[in-house]
Symmetry: D2
Subunit: 333 residues, 4 copies
Amino acid sequence: MVRFGLFGCGRIGRMHADTIAAHPRAELRMVYDVVPAAAEAVAGRHGCVAATEVDQLLESGEVDAVLIASSTDTHVDLITRSAKAGKAILCEKPIDLDIARVDACRDEIAPHKPILQLGFNRRFDPSFKAVQAGLAQGEIGKLELLVITSRDPGPPPAAYIKVSGGLFRDMMIHDFDLARFMLGEDPVAVSAMASVLVEPEIGRLGDVDSAMVTMKAASGALVHINCSRRAVYGYDQRLEAFGERGMLQVDNRRATTVRRYAADGTDTRDSLLDFFIERYAEAYTAELDAFIDAIEKGTPVPVGFEDGRRALILADAALQALKTGTTIDLKWE
Amino acid sequence: MVRFGLFGCGRIGRMHADTIAAHPRAELRMVYDVVPAAAEAVAGRHGCVAATEVDQLLESGEVDAVLIASSTDTHVDLITRSAKAGKAILCEKPIDLDIARVDACRDEIAPHKPILQLGFNRRFDPSFKAVQAGLAQGEIGKLELLVITSRDPGPPPAAYIKVSGGLFRDMMIHDFDLARFMLGEDPVAVSAMASVLVEPEIGRLGDVDSAMVTMKAASGALVHINCSRRAVYGYDQRLEAFGERGMLQVDNRRATTVRRYAADGTDTRDSLLDFFIERYAEAYTAELDAFIDAIEKGTPVPVGFEDGRRALILADAALQALKTGTTIDLKWE
Amino acid sequence: MVRFGLFGCGRIGRMHADTIAAHPRAELRMVYDVVPAAAEAVAGRHGCVAATEVDQLLESGEVDAVLIASSTDTHVDLITRSAKAGKAILCEKPIDLDIARVDACRDEIAPHKPILQLGFNRRFDPSFKAVQAGLAQGEIGKLELLVITSRDPGPPPAAYIKVSGGLFRDMMIHDFDLARFMLGEDPVAVSAMASVLVEPEIGRLGDVDSAMVTMKAASGALVHINCSRRAVYGYDQRLEAFGERGMLQVDNRRATTVRRYAADGTDTRDSLLDFFIERYAEAYTAELDAFIDAIEKGTPVPVGFEDGRRALILADAALQALKTGTTIDLKWE
Amino acid sequence: MVRFGLFGCGRIGRMHADTIAAHPRAELRMVYDVVPAAAEAVAGRHGCVAATEVDQLLESGEVDAVLIASSTDTHVDLITRSAKAGKAILCEKPIDLDIARVDACRDEIAPHKPILQLGFNRRFDPSFKAVQAGLAQGEIGKLELLVITSRDPGPPPAAYIKVSGGLFRDMMIHDFDLARFMLGEDPVAVSAMASVLVEPEIGRLGDVDSAMVTMKAASGALVHINCSRRAVYGYDQRLEAFGERGMLQVDNRRATTVRRYAADGTDTRDSLLDFFIERYAEAYTAELDAFIDAIEKGTPVPVGFEDGRRALILADAALQALKTGTTIDLKWE
């Protein structure tokens, strides 16, 4: 039984609290939020303690592991302090928006060798996992083309856009990680095009809302990612892996399997599951499973600090490619 | 090159005229219809002769084979005269609505040993053929359950209902033949339920418009057929063959492969192809191919007089089952 | 918070124990099984008491509601005693295999007016519910044809067949209830055909393993149900509701949305979810929700004693139809 | 009735000969090929004249229109001579591999104002046409993302690669035209990445066999195209148009609608139709229809010389983008 402390009691924090509470090998012992009332609400719901300070949680002796679901700008500080306190760490993506801070964090926590897992939920989705397993087992031979579709149901509020780091670092970062997961190697070249088509305010804030990125791996495999901040038909999360002996596709999920036939159309299915909390419900549980296994059984975490760092490097490269109109070449040490 | 004479220049006759004209091994030489203007129109379109009498066509020496697409009540007479005239015969279903007349026809033409193929178009549809081939090759092992869906886009006019022989003999007769084609054996028991749900006038004429039939073969295989005279989403023609090692399904055909996603539904496809002339366009050409092969190469016709006779016996049994509320047992000599 | 006692700690009992334990408004307080070790295992897993007698559970004062998941032959006794003890009752289907015992039970519990819900899981499945809601809202107008497919992944052991009441009372009873749920009325005529195709031992025990039933409602709507005790591709649970303005279909569920393309076939999906515990996982939770609502909020139970009784009457009618080869007419008081 | 002369009696020429012969408003009168035996074979099959020289065909007075299906390097010469001879011209894509020659041809034929249609078959495919019509009617509002998948079943022989102009000018040129068709405007920026993954010989000849291109239109709409010279599961031709109010997809075509269920997978469909002659059979007929309409009714050709020229400019830009690793900006006069 792993005893958890939770940092961050917003929407995603509350979802993680529920997932921990429902997990047979986990207990939620303490929660913290900069807004005390938010922490108290979660503590009340799950019968645990609302810490009033970060250190109260880290020093209580009641907690084996922390789940960091607070705002991005607090991640590096909480990771560092938790690592120093000897806690196992499950941190929501991204590590940070600034690669220099990420690198510094990496160096600072290195001596503590924390069990640190990053919350790239797609890696734990049964469908994406099955495709990755198929690729790893050579089901379609050499991977040649990878096409990732990633569209949110609707744009976030302007306040979020301002602190999000932009589409590439906030949203497409999931797809950069997913591409690395499928490729089994790192892209070595990145190009990008983007537009403001959905919400002019996003453009005024210096960001884009529609984007296409192309990447190439050392093996020659080519990757396409397209993102939009708005899909009226729901949260659109697909992938297509094409190789020398076939193709594997991940389709979207829907609440039911109903198909409707009417005079003006046939085979109509539900809108797509909306949004990440519904779409990746199973993934969040599997993510927690893997983290608890890492703590209890010593298995390696399936996605770690370096994965978060590399996804950010790809996002930064895409942004640079977009600004310069050139392909950015990457060297990985 | 096979020289054809055509009896019947209505809707289905005109379709057959086009199919013959477009076929590389067929020529349309002469056409006949009780309405001379109808015959002349087809003759004009295809540059051939409009016969003014049946015998003109049969005795001209210009014709190797006849295609009978006239009204059902003329089939037995035209089959008999064509057989006596030594013509190869491709006759639209059904042979007749009266099994006694069918049996008499069988006996009368027997000495002439005509090449006689019956127009059960479903046997020539690429999808139904592929499923039958899969069954014959043991793809799903022993066939256990067969489910046939057969729904017309809309009810025929009352005038047609009056002479059609009713839903079982006119419409479901295709499905009785399809069941025999898939089973590779004859049903030995038939039960039926039916309703008037679509068009009250059909009920006033003594017929039904919605029906379900169950049959059992000597092997124990069970068959379900359901028919409706109206499907607002198009001509619905499906089949599902279930067996010890799997299942084979035939889905409907649509004009395009487009899928539509909108705020209120996803994956919406076109209405179904409507009606038989569109749905079975490929089948009509394949049917003609097989008939020409029988004439030119001596291959057996894939569906013959006895198939038409047995389908009618099944339709009659279903009608009797409906009237008596009992399962009708059949013995085949 | 509703405090539960559980009767029966076999496979389905253990599943219900997990569902109760995970439910935010339910607590599992006491469990009973004729095999004490089975009760102790579940009690140990969920930290509750293993009762050694039925009355210990009913008289403890620790339990507001009972969930009956013991063998079918104990249902009537446990329902009766629980009703007399003033407990709310959630009972797995069927009530009993003998309609006389069911009727007697109905009369005996009537004075106690228990909250009694029956475990017809399909009514709580999101897809079946959505179709029923669509029908109730007139989405396809008048319901005309209903086709239900219901195939288990593999046959049960002979020991189970002996006490199951046979395919119609044990397996197809779900489909009789599902038909009533969709029709919104009772069938008034039933016919049946069946075979032993899967497992000869089933035949030696006097049962069938493959069956087709047809029913007709007073409205004229026609219903087809087909069952098999074995589908190699997984647990096959589908439904098609056809009406004057369209059609609604429920397709199967799979573990992932992956589609595979290879040289010998395209669009290949996973096997179907296998078996009812996986397929109806969401339904079991929704079933419990509705039951707790009935207790806490006084809402009517969505499926009650009379529904269980009528499903059994239909199963008995199907069996009689099969034996006599006639359509059985039903009168409902 | 339009009288046709055909230049080129190879695989695609023979297909066009069949299409012309089967068309009710067309007649094949004369054919020419640099290999006289090829011309004679086609002439024999269709009962027409095999010309021994180009001018024999152009000067015969027997021909109203020419269909140019000879090798790419002959197109400009044949277009020019046919235009001067006053013939209507239906020319297979591409016009030429050299934009300078294309421009010169344009200027030379301008005074003759020929009816000239280019053979971009995708524009005539029922599914692509339906999506373009949907876009034009605003079905999904403003078009924002366009994703085109274009994969051949297998690589062409080395001899063809040498004269093809490379993947971008030979194969992806269809997709450049398709993008323009869907966008309703011209791309203004092009980037590309590519690899040799399928066939090393293709790399030795200086070409690539796997490629991804991104384009941007003045409206901000983004386009992705991916091509491979080999898809083991058949000829893969798909499109996805995403916009502010929804999405339209074109899926592939298969020979049947059969779905297969077995112990190791469900819903398996046929391989894709292979190759362009099968996949675009309907399109070739519709293409001929439109051309004949242009001749007989004076309707505008749906795809003309300038469309071919612009597709080539895009292919050249993609090649330049690939070589320089930069986004190429395009200005259209």
